[in-house]
Every structure is written in structure tokens, then in C-alpha cells.
């Protein structure tokens, strides 16, 4: 192996393993999640605050990394990521109205991603509260997790982690939207089919 070739390899190795900041992909609605919502007669809602739960340290839900690479939200924070996910799915279900007196707030309890050599995983837990003024209509903790095949190779493992991370948000919202108590809280009892 020539000295020049060795230098190229070392330089390439360093470039490929530099801890570049990576961004999560922008969130996309899961239409499987919202199909049941579109069939119900539900009241429109506003999305209020979405933030880390006061019981956890902010770093616990906002500081993620894919191996050595910092992993950031394209919306500035992972609280904003969940707010975008919630808003986008409700908007696509035609249930979002920022002026509605009914408001959904969320508090993130856990937000994790791991890309080891064998199986990648992500987990997300949040408490969702639906309220109408001072009346609390729904208050539950929901959690979701997802796994995917990972790799020893950094480039492959990082891109797989990046691709799969939004799925845990889709699963969390699927758990929320399929909860009969959540549907009951939004039910428009005066509507006729």
C-alpha cells in the first residue's frame, strides 16, 4: 500500500467519522393514523404548549446523538417536532383550529434514539392533556417505540437512524388517536351523520 494511498484512506476515514450535526427528517403525516379521525364527527381543536415535562431535565428529552454525531430537530427542538407532528396530523384530519376553545397540550417524558451495531431503536413518551377552559377532558401518558436493523458501518447506521426516527412520533400519535377516551373527549355530540 503506497504512502499516498494510506494518506487518502486516513483522510477519508477522518472525514467520514467527523461528528457532523445531523437533522431529523421533517415530519410527515401518517394517513393510516388519521383515517379513523376523519370518519368521526369530532370537534376542532387547537394545539397548545408542547414542552419537556417539568419532572425531567430538559437535556433528557432535547439532547440526542447518533453515535458521536449530535442529532437535532429541523424545527429547533424536539418539543417543536412533536408540536409539528400533532398539528400536521390534526390539520390533515381537518380537525385543527387555532381559535378552538378546546386545546391539546403535551409534555415529553422520554425521547431516546440509539444506533448500535445490531438493532437501532427509538422511544418516545409524552403526557397529553385535552382541556376546554379549566375543564380537563383527557389526561393520559402515551408511549411508543420502534426498532430497525442497524449496522457496524457508521454511514449506514446513521442514515438508518435518521430515516426511522420519525416513525416513533407516528406511533405515538397512533396510540393517542386510537384511544377511545381521546375520541370521546373530542366527540361532537350534537353532530348527525
Amino acid at each position: 500500500m503506497s504512502a499516498n494511498f494510506k494518506c487518502v484512506l486516513v483522510a477519508t476515514f477522518l472525514i467520514l467519522n467527523t461528528a457532523c450535526t445531523m437533522l431529523a427528517p421533517k415530519y410527515n403525516t401518517s394517513f393510516e393514523n388519521i383515517a379513523p379521525l376523519r370518519e368521526e364527527h369530532l370537534k376542532k381543536v387547537a394545539v397548545g404548549d408542547v414542552k419537556p415535562d417539568p419532572s425531567v431535565k430538559q437535556d433528557g428529552t432535547e439532547s440526542l446523538s447518533l453515535r458521536a454525531a449530535p442529532f437535532k430537530s429541523p424545527y429547533g427542538s424536539f418539543s417543536a417536532y412533536l408540536k409539528e407532528a400533532l398539528s400536521q396530523e390534526l390539520e390533515d384530519a381537518h380537525l385543527l383550529d387555532p381559535k378552538s376553545p378546546i386545546e391539546i397540550t403535551a409534555y415529553i417524558l422520554k425521547n431516546e434514539i440509539s444506533v448500535p451495531m445490531d438493532t437501532g431503536s427509538a422511544a418516545l413518551t409524552a403526557r397529553f392533556v385535552v382541556s376546554h377552559g379549566t375543564e380537563k377532558l383527557f389526561d393520559k401518558v402515551k408511549d411508543a417505540s420502534t426498532t430497525w436493523p442497524s449496522s457496524f458501518f457508521g454511514a449506514t447506521a446513521l442514515s438508518a437512524g435518521q430515516i426511522n426516527y420519525p416513525i416513533v412520533y407516528q406511533k405515538l400519535l397512533q396510540s393517542l388517536f386510537s384511544d377511545i377516551d381521546f375520541i370521546g373527549a373530542l366527540k361532537d355530540k350534537g353532530a348527525h351523520k
Binding site: M1, K6, L9, V10, T12, F13, I15, L16, C20, T21, M22, L23, P25, K26, N28, T29, S30, F31, P74, Q88, D92, S151, F152, F153, A155, T156, S159, A160, Q162, I163
Partner: protein, 193 residues
Amino acid sequence: MKILGAIVSLFLLAGCAHAINITPNLRALTANTEILKTPVGYYLSPADRDKQVSQPSGGGDSVTYYPYKELEPALQKVLYERFKVVHALSSPPTERVLAEGKVDYAFIPEFITENYSTGVLTWPPTKFIVKCSMRAVDKTGTVVWSKQYEGTGEATSSDWKQDFGIAAKRAAESAFKSFAQDINSPNVFILKH
């Protein structure tokens, strides 16, 4: 040191397959147009949904993705933006299937994708093309409308921290924006029947 160098070079030079996701940013396909009450459906065969494509990319590596499964959300988004009722049909759209699914029209897409990379040491696509062939059949199974769309997306290394598959997403967004423009037109074929 020689052994380490050999291991590193093997890892670096191995022809890895990297997964990308080609679903475009669905927010970009929001229409804000009148929603038609005409019930419609669409059909993707199970074989198409499971179809994985592997194409050569930069650096001797390849990229893999699922064109139908990953473009389905864009199809759903465009249809949901225009039609109140959208069903995923589980069988090819015959007269009986449309009657059972209670839909007046069914859309049948075909997708062809092309991937290019100018990278010598980098694998992510630098150019991607999505070709969509869309046709719609009515209750009798007659093709009442068909059209081809093509979108091209490009990316440079500065885009890759955002998303390794960003060129593909840009191509898909461009193709589906053209489809959405036609579907959201006041002269849309469905209004003429």
C-alpha cells in the same frame, strides 16, 4: 498498524447498500382548495408496496428504497387535499371493487425512479428523477383520465446533514406538485363527468 489500515480500508471501500427514504415533504403539497365530496380510491398492489429498489450510487456504494411504499403518502396527501373520502383499495379496481368500496373513481399510479451520483467518496444521490404515470378509472373500469409527471431533484454535500435522500425527496415533491396542480384545477376531469 498494517492490519488496522487494512481493516479500515476494507470498511471504507466495501460496496455498502444505504437506505434512503424518498417520501417528499408533505407540507409542500397542501392545496387549500375546495374539497369535493366525490368518493375516490387508489390501488397499489401488495407486490408494488413491497418492491425494494437498489441502484448504484456514489463511491461504489448503492442506495435502497421502496418507491411505492414511500410515495404512497404523497399520493394520499394530494388526494386527501381534494377529496373528502379516499379509500385504499385492496384489489385491482374492477366494477365490483369500486361498488364495494363505495368509490366513483380509482387512481392507479406507476412509479419509475432514477438515481445518479457524482460522488467519488460519497454515496448519497446528487440527482434523482421520479416519473409518475397516473390514470383514473370510473365505475365501469374505463380509463377516464391519464397523465405523466416527472420531477427532478438535486443535492450537494451541504444538504446531506438535513437528509441523505434529499435529492429524491425534491424530485418526488416536484412530480407530485404537478399532479396536485391538475387535481386541484377547477377543470379537473371528475367535474366533467
